[in-house]
Symmetry: C2
Subunit: 346 residues, 2 copies
DNA sequence: CTGAAAGCGCTAACAG
DNA sequence: CTGTTAGCGCTTTCAG
């Protein structure tokens, strides 16, 4: 309950000096600073964030918009953002919009605009130009992770190129009957991600002169269990089976491996499976995949934002940071070959 | 950038009337309200949360403290809390403290005290009396999920009783050689959860006159992959094997099933496995478990808090809600028998 | 280096 | 029902 006034009284200083001393500003004598600090400590003084934000215009708070917290990719990004922010003394306001359009709307049109956030990080969210403009209009820098965001900075991986790479890995091993397990079209609130990865797959197949069979293009909801169900249907089709599957996420690759086991198929002997992500569970299954360090992407996004904010503050820019020209960074990835892929059965 | 003043001017009303009109208060003529609303809309007015919080004392913001966002239980709780809060127009400030003591400290001693939260929900966190007092001292209601929190309300399941139930399920099937896979002792930032579940297991064994073999009491980090590694060690011990395993979480139960497969053990024919949680993936593995609806627990916690806050507001209580006597609620659960448990091999 | 004073933008009595 | 008047608790010129 102690306010800065109480601290000032107890320290025998003015409110202004205490404020400067406590927020580590210059132009305060060592003695005054000590005096202020002790008084504050003795009173258990904790500054009111609302008051200081109101007065200074800075919030020390970053918003994070996610479509889900259950899928590995998103919780990993969240973890990276969270750790970076916490260490910098920033709060993280989480908007888990899920798949409900209503929630998405209200977050975008109400929550985010309440001038309470210094910046926002949007993960795998397709924003309309209007939505982006609205955000930019309130002078908040935005960074997008996982896809392009016109006018905002983004961090992403080369989804189409990497899908090609994954597919090529299979082709080089000698596979010709390759299936692709993609994300449900309904999940295209995401940056059209499923579509992009699928395009990469198709391009690679085409380049190799291989057919893309419609019945081997299946989809699931990005979860292990969803992919398991879809893969069972794929592998259970009475007809010819593929000898390899490229799944658009590790979770779906794992679901595929589990389904294969049900049919007595040995991985990779009878069926090769490659995923994409770098999920920790991949090791257990010997999953060949493309690592993308989602946690690192989240941390990087947060760091970039913090730098921008600091720069804005240093420039005396009234707390509202100036977004330095929107940049589009590609995050590094690596192909990790384990034991779920091999040459096709004779 | 438009402030309430601009809206007032444009509407030809006083600031006060606009404030009342826009925040849906009574005592405003329909005409004035309409006038205010149109003016606000035309100017794209969005109220400053800091200003209104400072003036009203209410933040519309709840803090959630979690030890992790990757484990199923926590992300499920998060999801429940998040949805409930969003729908009520509240912000969710997330503190993912992880296992770093430093972070835990700073969150507890800095972040949470900044008077920016109306309430806090702590999941599976053991708070010292001091910490609880500190939080209560700033007049913020707290609710704990997943364990006891002296002085605060809690929502939890009967961990010890349910562990007993799970163990008894195995015993009733005829098992006598039962192993227990518990959480790493290091994870006892949790409400001593591993210990409590283990105690339930031991009690059930004792009641049945069965021996608890130390070498069959193993631990892991609550993840599938961690449990997989531990279970491999358990099942790979040259000596006699258990015929059943009770894992303290579904993720660990699944890791166990995967390990069993590696050794050519059929579940449940050669090894019965029971888990605890209600993880969606359990279905894929036919996992027998105890469902606990973590999402629902999170939603309930949020709802309780919102009610308390509303009550406080209604009571004209300066926004600082009065915690109505701390209650300790037990959340309902159910034993779900699937196909991972059966009578022991002959 | 320090203090006084002027707000940040809104809400909440209080009179009318 | 509406306008006026005080602040909420801090930061920040601006003098000194």
């Amino acid at each position: 309950m102690a306010g800065i006034k109480d601290v000032a009284d107890r320290a025998g200083l003015s409110i202004a000096t205490v404020s400067r001393a406590l927020s580590g500003k210059a132009n305060v004598s060592a003695k005054s600073r000590k005096l202020a600090k002790t008084a504050a400590a003795e009173l258990g003084f904790v500054p009111s964030y609302h008051a200081s934000s109101l007065a200074s215009g800075r919030n020390h708070n970053v918003g994070l918009v996610l479509p889900s917290v259950h899928r590995w990719y998103f919780s990993s990004v969240l973890e990276g953002v969270s750790a970076t922010l916490l260490d910098a003394g920033y709060d993280l306001t989480l908007y888990n919009v899920g798949d409900q359009a209503v929630r998405r709307e209200s977050v975008l049109n109400d929550f985010l605009l309440r001038k309470r956030l210094d910046a926002v990080i949007a993960v795998a969210l397709v924003l309309t130009d209007d939505e982006i403009q609205q955000l930019l209009a309130i002078h908040r820098p935005i960074v997008g992770i996982g896809g392009a965001l016109a006018g905002a900075s983004t961090i992403r991986i080369n989804d189409s190129g990497l899908s090609r790479m994954a597919t090529n890995h299979l082709i080089q091993l000698g596979h010709t009957r390759i299936a692709h397990l993609t994300g449900d079209p309904a999940l295209n609130q995401d940056f059209k991600l499923p579509g992009i990865r699928q395009a990469g797959f198709e391009a690679a197949m085409k380049d190799a002169g291989l057919p893309v069979r419609p019945e081997w293009q299946i989809s699931a909801d990005f979860t292990i269990q969803g992919a398991y169900a879809s893969a069972r249907r794929l592998l259970g089709m009475g007809t010819e089976r593929p000898t390899a599957v490229f799944a658009a996420s590790d979770e779906m690759a794992i679901g595929t491996i589990l389904a294969a086991r049900d049919f007595g198929l040995r991985v990779p002997h009878d069926l090769s499976v490659i995923g994409m992500d770098g999920h920790e569970l991949g090791e257990v299954f010997g999953l060949t995949t493309i690592n993308q360090d989602a946690r690192g992407q989240g941390a990087l996004a947060a760091r970039l934002l913090l730098e921008t904010l600091d720069a804005g503050a240093a420039a005396g820019n009234d707390g509202a940071a100036t977004p330095r020209g929107a940049t589009d960074r590609e995050y590094p990835t690596e192909l990790v070959i384990r034991t779920s892929t091999a040459v096709p059965p004779a």
